[in-house]
């Protein structure tokens, strides 16, 4: 009797069935249905796998040059993508170069994602003085153009892979912190956070259960879009000679050294640029795809 008149008000005519599908399973299902994102993911996966397994692919030695086989054009017998200005096999150098390039293109963003998210979530959730201290510090870094900042830090630390990694990480922490803080303070004001606090849960529990899940995906998508910027910056540092040093194969550095050959064989000298372009395009499209896949209401 009492129960009957408030039988759940499900829309009449529809019989909803429980569908125990987790959030990430839903994201995965939506991603699979998106061909462009899947294509980009496949290209990136291929590049990453090739980079990781480069020594086992039976390629030529990327360091071994030949004075007589310099600047061979594309399609040369034995050098399918030609050779560079020191006669080293381009295909081998591009594949091996992917190892460093992707490493210093992705690692800074991954590190900055963790550090920046943590800073931003704490600043956004706790607020007050903590927020002021974190955000004003971040603003100081933010005031410099990212290229300038990366060059300045790298220059101060000296050239080298680890130093460019550190400088690029520092460059990407401020923007990620800002986004994390903005998203978190938005979520912080919602009623479900208050409801969770009203159960007596500690700040850490509320952040873990109710905040992180709701702020991470926008930050993640934003960070993904930064990876292409990071790759270009890393390439730029190498190009300027304060990143990776020759003879290490790295796309930015290769672009630099092949610059002089642009009149001899423009196709050849464009190859490292094409790799950078393809990778960052795929990363951008992937982050777009992720953004729409992570949208729950659909």
């Amino acid at each position: 009797m009492a129960q009957t008149d408030f039988a759940a008000d499900a829309p009449a005519g529809r019989a909803p069935v429980a569908k125990p599908q987790g959030y990430w399973a839903g994201v995965g299902a939506r991603l699979v249905r998106d061909p462009i994102t899947m294509l980009c993911a496949a290209v990136l996966l291929m590049l990453i796998l090739a980079a990781i397994f480069a020594p086992f692919l039976g390629l030529a030695d990327p360091y071994k040059g030949s004075m007589i086989a310099r600047l061979k054009p594309l399609g040369t017998e034995g050098h399918i993508l030609g050779t560079d200005e020191q006669g080293r096999d381009m295909l081998a150098r591009l594949v091996h170069g992917g190892r460093l390039t992707l490493f210093i293109g992705l690692m800074p963003v991954v590190l900055a994602f963790f550090i920046g998210s943590a800073l931003g979530i704490v600043a956004g959730y706790v607020g007050g003085l903590t927020n002021t201290i974190i955000m004003r510090t971040v603003d100081v870094f933010f005031a410099f153009p990212s290229v300038l900042l990366a060059i300045a830090i790298s220059g101060a630390l000296g050239a080298g892979i680890v130093n460019s990694l550190v400088s690029l990480t520092i460059v990407f922490i401020p923007p990620i912190t800002r986004v994390a803080e903005a998203v978190t303070s938005g979520v912080r004001a919602l009623d479900y956070i208050d409801a969770a606090r009203a159960t007596g849960a500690s700040a850490w529990t509320v952040i873990r259960v109710h905040v992180i899940g709701n702020v991470l995906s926008p930050i993640f998508v934003y960070a993904t879009s930064l990876t292409s910027v990071c790759m270009i910056l890393a390439a730029g540092l190498s190009f300027l000679g304060i990143g990776v040093r020759p003879p290490e194969p790295e796309w930015g550095l290769m672009l630099n050294t092949l610059r002089s050959a642009i009149y001899v064989d423009p196709w050849l000298s464009a190859l490292p640029g094409v790799m950078i372009f393809v990778t960052s395009l795929c990363l951008n499209l992937l982050s777009d795809g992720l953004r729409s896949a992570m949208n729950v209401r659909d």
């Binding site: 408030f6 008000d9 829309p11 009449a12 005519g13 529809r14 659909d298």
Partner: protein, 325 residues
């Protein structure tokens, strides 16, 4: 004299990821100078009807069938300049959230004057004079000063008055009001309702007032059309609807108003929720929730039963004169 509004067999479908049959076979007419309340809950199609009247529905995702005539003009045939002249000239609208409907970067006087200049071709000075006169008519104190205020400098009630002044500046024949008092406090709501009532008499215009609140409908309107699941289920004068509601849904809404319910007594709540309208209703859409539903109600759409002139009910049991307890 031509009828102010003549809608016949209006059907509106939204297509896209999900199809929604928002309006299903709605016919409705209004005489000049009438005030009609469109009463219904969220998703009943009342706001969609208003948007259709202004031609504001997104054309790509909307399928519209049926006829909409305002003052004898087929507004579905209007395009370009003619449509612009019609919107804001012949028919204008007051929105629920004046804070969103007013442009924050212009003074309220400028916004009203701009509309007048566009529609009536007046000079800037004359248009400002009209704007001042309009602010006076919506009883804004010290209108001369308020003319130069930005929307954010005004309180919620004042903003809604400005919104009304803006809507009436070009003397429309028909004013559409989409829940204009819902966001306001009770003591401000009643001021706006009474103001609209006075202005309606003063300007002699027709008003369609969309609301979910039956109490508000009683205060403002002469006639009420009750909407449910994209259909009109009952129409009549306010007096008829309040004193002698015949559709079980209307009766349920009246009971849910809690106006004279005994304290603590069990409420006679309508069970369930409105249908999702993914398919066009083939039977009485209220039947699944209706305490009086019969087999016949689930077999086909109930025809309108005409009880008197312009008094109709879409219910097979509407002629059972004893009101349900």
């Amino acid at each position: 004299m031509t009828r102010l509004l003549d809608i016949s067999d209006l059907t509106i479908r939204f297509t896209g990821k999900r199809t929604v049959h928002a309006i299903n076979n709605v016919s409705l007419s209004m005489e000049q100078g009438e005030t009609l309340a469109l009463l219904g809950e969220s998703g009943s199609g009342k706001s969609v009807t208003l948007k259709a009247l202004l031609g504001l529905l997104p054309p790509k995702r909307t399928q519209i069938e049926g006829r909409i005539h305002v003052n004898g003009t087929d507004i579905r045939a209007l395009r370009g300049r003619a449509l612009q002249r019609y919107r804001g000239g012949e028919v204008s609208m007051v929105f629920q959230e004046p804070a969103l409907a007013l442009d924050p970067v212009y003074t309220v006087g400028h916004q009203i004057a701009e509309t007048v200049m566009r529609h009536k071709g007046l000079s800037k000075d004359d248009a400002m004079a009209v704007a001042l006169d309009m602010l006076d008519r919506v009883r804004i104190p010290s209108a001369n000063r308020r003319l130069h205020n930005y929307p954010h400098e005004l309180s919620g009630g004042m903003r809604q008055r400005v919104m009304i002044a803006l809507a009436l500046a070009c003397r429309p024949r028909l004013l559409l009001a989409d829940e204009p008092t819902t966001a306001l406090d009770a003591t401000v709501q009643i001021q706006i309702l009474l103001l609209l009532r006075e202005l309606q008499r003063e300007f002699g215009m027709g008003v369609i007032f969309v609301t979910h609140d039956i109490g508000v409908a009683v205060e403002i309107s002469e006639r009420i059309a009750v909407m449910y699941a994209g259909q009109i289920v009952e129409e009549g004068t306010t007096h008829q609807i309040i004193r002698d509601a015949r559709h079980p849904y209307t009766q349920g809404l009246l009971a849910a108003n809690l106006h004279d319910v005994d304290r603590g007594a069990r409420l006679n709540a309508i069970p369930g929720a409105p249908p999702a309208l993914e398919v066009a209703p083939m039977a009485c859409p209220f039947a699944p929730r209706c305490p009086k539903a019969m087999d016949a109600c689930r077999e086909g759409l109930p025809p309108f039963l005409s009880l008197a002139d312009r008094r109709r009910v879409a219910c097979l049991r509407a002629d059972e004169t004893v009101p349900a307890e």
